[in-house]
Symmetry: C2
Subunit: 351 residues, 2 copies
């Protein structure tokens, strides 16, 4: 059996960039994509990192599902809002450009929002929200996921495994980075369980008939919305799922999740990006101090038996990022997939 | 035993207005408050309607916890953003003014956001979000709730029972109105269970030691965040709770929930309001048609056995509102409370 191998993140970025360029992506766009992919691995979001390079992105470029040289267009009707058409470009590139535009508008009038149609999978949403941090803004990134959730009262995967990401800067504490799918659990977690050959907890997903499933192979009937059952608030998870689709799809003129077909010809996801300039409300240093106080107050809550620390959104990922700064541990399956890719694309495998 | 009595909504507004004016509230502010209170009853949000008139608002005005004649101030640093200080005025009045300001700014630059500190309880959040509908905007209303949620890993009610409300207009379908507390269940639902002498489901709340509780009187250790257990995503409900506190409290310069004391001297809630002008993205008629298509696609999903209809957020409330248009059924306890109030304030009871 192969073992987990630790790989230098910079080398992983260079490798991924080369692979994408071989598929006709420009150097600038390939670099953007590689950086965002590896950023997910760095933060421990293994389900959204280089594990997907070959199966999602290289394959998508090969089949033409992803457009290597998109003509991204923007339509704007107000100083703070616009629609973007991604022309089926790499979601990373589309997302990076849309978020950059949201930040530019927030710089001008206090807030900026871009609703994006006709994109493709953009990896982990937190990256785009976190782009706002260096600009002393609150960043928002929403995306449609694939059809993976069972709507309460319904049968089968009818609605999107949508994602909400929000990032907020702090002073000395770790920035708050919420990055959550609106299902009980992210689809990537099922992939990981499958890769590690583990059972999944009851309440994550159902089989084709709608019964609870604990084996990943049987859990093909859809993931439950956050809340799980109606009594425990699954209509809230459902409501959040629809909300994300409104911002991403209806507002951009794209198709909402239940309107989309499933399968290889399904249109790619729509997104929504937002930036809100904090000093449009109050001096940034005052705000950051307020964030630190708020975060510390949560850390200082009385602990339940056996609990040492209370973690806020983004803190665990920051700890992992520090650990992985000099090396990202990759599962042997992923190493093999990258080696195969190198051979196929005739690039040097030097990870 | 007294029975449920049906009361004319217009009369209820007039009665509530008179009661508030007796406490020194101006006619304009009393009317705003009464209208929003009764709107909750009309939509079936019995936990946030006139049931609270005496115990929350009249009592609050009596004790000085609520300021009958607030000097509401606004500080703005960008075209789309501002802070408001509510001067402990009735939350309804503060919220109405802040949302009106958010809409005005969205009219000008496409979006408007007001973060509000130093307010008091503002009733059901959906009202403020729904104010945006007539302006063809998406409306957002967030509020801190009282300290009522147990943070994952913690003991006791450490964080706020915060609320997210978002309203989006449609064409012929019912507007989408999400109105959800970030706990498994709204605090008001526990009040209703207590009033009706019913047990609550396991997973809603815990006792003082953190054990699951099904009797309302024992469920004093806090409501669980949406998700319930960490495995089923309670960190997501926790994350949403903190997010609301950031927008309401940190951004306004108020105190976040865990920083607040509990008890009669606790500072009132902070809020956040937002309006996003839809034709800043696309023509409004095109958007509304897109909403109708999205809503119909959800309605047309395959149904689970025994299910006839799939309801989106806001649809059930709209059905109730149609039924209650000519009469709101009030629980005998509430009738008695209003009769007592009439006597106490020396106003005519003519409901």
């Amino acid at each position: 059996m192969a073992e987990i191998r630790t790989v230098n993140p910079e080398k992983l970025i260079v490798f991924s960039t080369k692979a994408l360029m071989k598929m006709g992506v420009t150097e600038e766009d390939a670099k953007i994509t590689a950086r965002i992919l590896v950023a997910a691995d760095l933060r421990g979001i293994d389900s959204h990192g280089v594990a997907h390079l070959d199966p999602f992105y290289i394959k998508g470029l090969k089949t033409g599902r992803i457009n290597a040289k998109p003509q991204i267009k923007m339509f704007s009707e107000s100083p703070s809002t616009a629609i973007m058409d991604g022309d089926k470009g790499l979601g990373f590139v589309v997302g990076y450009k849309a978020m950059t535009e949201a930040i530019r508008r927030a710089q001008e009038v206090g807030s900026g929002f871009i609703s994006v149609r006709n994109s493709t999978h953009y990896g982990a949403g937190a990256y785009y929200a976190m782009m706002a941090l260096d600009h002393n803004m609150i960043g928002i990134s929403l995306t449609q996921g694939g059809k993976g959730i069972v709507a309460p009262g319904s049968r089968g995967k009818g609605i999107g495994l949508n994602v909400i990401s929000v990032a907020v800067p702090a002073k000395e504490e770790v920035p708050f980075v919420l990055d959550m799918a609106t299902g009980v659990v992210a689809g990537g977690k099922l992939e990981i369980a499958k890769r590690l050959n583990r059972l999944i907890p009851e309440g994550w997903a159902v089989d084709e008939e709608g019964n609870p499933a604990t084996e990943v192979d049987k859990a093909t009937g859809g993931i439950l919305p956050l809340g799980g059952t109606p009594q425990l608030g699954s209509y809230k998870g459902f409501g959040l799922t629809v909300l994300v689709d409104i911002f991403c799809s209806v507002l951009s003129g794209g198709l909402s999740s239940p309107e989309k077909e499933i399968g290889p010809n399904a249109p790619g996801p729509n997104h929504f990006f937002g930036a809100i300039r904090i000093n449009g409300f109050m001096p940034i240093e005052e705000f950051k101090l307020g964030m630190d106080n708020m975060i510390k107050a949560h850390h200082n809550l009385p602990k339940a038996p056996g609990i040492d620390n209370i973690y806020l959104a983004g803190e665990v990922e920051q700890i992992i990022e520090k650990e992985r700064h000099h090396g990202i541990p990759l599962h042997p399956d992923i190493i093999i997939s990258l080696q195969k890719l190198a051979k196929e694309l005739n690039i040097k495998y030097d990870l």
